[in-house]
Amino acid sequence: MIPHDILTLYSAKMLEYGIAILFLLLFIPFWRFSQSTATALATARAAVPARKKAESGWFPVPADRLFHQGHAWARPDSDGLVTVGLDGFAARLVGPLASVALPQVGSKVGQGERAWRLMTDDGQGVDMLAPVDGTIAAINTDLAKDPDATIADPYGKGWLVRVRPDRLRANLTNLLTGQAARRWMDETVAGLQARLSPGLGALAQDGGVPVSGMARVIDAANWHGLARTYLLTSEKEDGRA
């Protein structure tokens, strides 16, 4: 015969009720924690002043970056070097990337001159212009493993090179920052919206960020040409230069 202890059974049941109540109490905050995003990201941004972002419609325009109109950014650092990358617009325009061909350490780059190449899956490349003059002091070697970091985090892990500037003060006068940068980005986005295909338009109505590879959405046949136009590296742009 199985011994039956009513008190043991009762305490086990109490524990089960206790676990059920604990679950219900924890479930609500856990649900709120796992399902929310905006608050957490806002807190994270506030906690990291260097990553302060001033939203410009679809694309962030961080207040601490200076922008070249070829969609590269520059950030003078405290050690005298300038960190350089491509902005969120360029990343989403061209992406996803097979690789990024960066200049070698020690080589020279010039403001407004071709400096690196974004390579896509189909083996074609899109060149981009350097935002400052100087010598390459370091390159982001992590991009060899994860070139799409330039899309996922263009202002953080997706940085491209660090440059020892030759004439930073003169270069800075040609770069956009603050309100001017936001206005320029807004105008670029407005121009893009005018060319949008219905597919991308639906995304915009959703309030989401445009998909990676926007140029392909707009003009699948000649998207490289379109990307080069926006990044100021088309042959027409070269001729004008």
């Binding site: 679950f23 856990f30 796992s34 995003t37 097979a98 996922a152 998909v211 990676s212």
Partner: protein, 406 residues
């Protein structure tokens, strides 16, 4: 008859559809990659092992015995395989029944993973059955209505058929059969509803099998709730497997994926779902311990292993999924998903192998041939997935349509 005239179009079809537009020589050369060579080596060892098992029987090929009649072919191939194939019904239900349309781009790969998962689970089961040629008996000849096995047998057969039918649209698109495609698309809702009913039944019944073994299964894993454990954990397994599969596919088939889809955003959404399911699963498992009053067993060796399972493979990934989704850390989410997949495998092996017959003197350790056969089935499964994805519009639904427009 003009046999030559017929042969020409046929050769074009074969070249275009099967050899990816390459000549046979070029196609064979393109197969010489490290991945296919490794897969070929595994199959070169594994296929003779499969033949050996069917030629000489279970006794010669396995370490199974009367005490331990179930080994890794049940624990890994069948139980873990079916759980990890749950992405098919999880995603199809989310999209077609709950209306979460944004996940539509990852339904096809999820259904393909599900179909291949079930198919190879059934093949693993066939290897495990002493007399596989008797399989039709419980299905058609001698019904055992009250048996859990009866329900599982019918459910798996029906659901494998449902998954096959659910996967037909990309096959018809590939073949260019427009009328058949239109018909197949019309059956989607019906198949999805049928699929989720069948999955609810057999995912839980696979756990229900162990209700018959209260004295064999360690008390920490045995619980009257075990069918619910299997069902709830299958949802988490399905979501985690879809995250893992989408990450690997987008890496391996870069040129085939639809670049207009922000997969990272979908992965974050799946992680939110997985975090909630695992959170609930943890507390239901805790209720099982409380219900059976097994707290005193937690300090034993098996108890510590049980804690590793429910804390390390359930609670911790639940928290990591939640944190990753909240902060949009897609890489963390993908690693957590892989960890969860491992956790589901650990759980199914715990229930069916490690904690089963835990107090018996005769302990089961799989033979090298059992391991090889399982590895071979996985390899054939992955190779099949690759073969299909390289030809049919699975990762990019608009691929073929777009080509026609161009």
């Amino acid at each position: 008859m003009s046999s030559d005239a017929r042969a020409l179009p046929a050769r074009g079809w074969v070249t275009d559809k099967l050899f990816l537009g390459l000549s046979l020589t070029d196609y064979l050369k393109s197969l010489l990659t490290p991945g296919t060579i490794i897969a070929g080596l595994i199959m070169a060892v594994g296929i003779p092992v499969i033949i050996y098992r069917f030629a000489y029987g279970l006794g010669a090929a396995t370490n199974l015995s009367q005490t331990n009649p179930w080994g890794i072919w049940i624990g890994f191939d069948m139980l873990a395989g079916v759980a990890l194939a749950a992405g098919g019904y999880t995603l199809a239900t989310s999209v077609y029944i709950f209306g979460l349309k944004e996940y539509h781009p990852i339904v096809r790969p999820a259904i393909l993973t599900g179909f291949l998962g079930y198919l190879f689970a059934v093949l693993g089961l066939t290897a495990d059955l002493g007399r596989p040629w008797n399989l039709p008996v419980p299905l058609f000849i001698s019904w055992g209505g009250p048996s859990v096995m009866f329900e599982i047998a019918w459910c798996v057969v029906l659901y494998l058929t449902v998954l096959f039918l659910e996967f037909l649209p990309p096959v018809f698109e590939w073949l260019g059969w427009k009328k058949a495609l239109s018909l197949a698309n019309k059956t989607t809702i019906g198949l999805t509803v049928f699929g989720v009913i069948l999955s609810t039944l057999h995912q839980s019944s696979l756990g229900g099998l162990f209700l018959m073994a209260p004295t064999k299964l360690h008390p920490l894993w045995y619980s009257p709730f075990i069918p619910a454990y299997f069902f709830i954990s299958s949802i988490a397994a399905g979501l985690a497997m879809v995250i893992v599969e989408s990450g690997l596919s987008h890496r391996a088939f870069k040129s085939r994926v639809d670049h207009h889809v922000d997969v990272d955003k979908l992965v974050v959404g799946l992680a939110r779902g997985a975090s909630i399911v695992l959170f609930c699963y943890f507390f239901v498992k805790l209720q099982g311990v409380a219900d059976g009053d097994r707290w005193h067993l937690l300090g034993t060796g098996y108890g510590l292993w049980f804690l590793v399972e429910i804390v390390g493979f359930v609670l911790v990934p639940s928290m990591l999924f939640a944190w990753g989704a909240r902060n949009r850390r897609v890489t963390l989410i993908r690693w957590t998903a892989a960890w969860t997949v491992l956790g589901i495998i650990v759980n199914r092996l715990n229930v069916s192998v490690i904690a089963l017959n835990w107090n018996a003197a005769d302990r089961y350790v799989p033979s090298w041939m059992e391991v090889t056969l399982s590895l071979t089935l996985i390899t054939i499964g992955i190779s099949s997935f690759r073969w299909i994805v390289n030809r049919m519009p699975v990762l990019n639904e608009h691929e073929i349509t777009g080509r026609h427009h161009a």
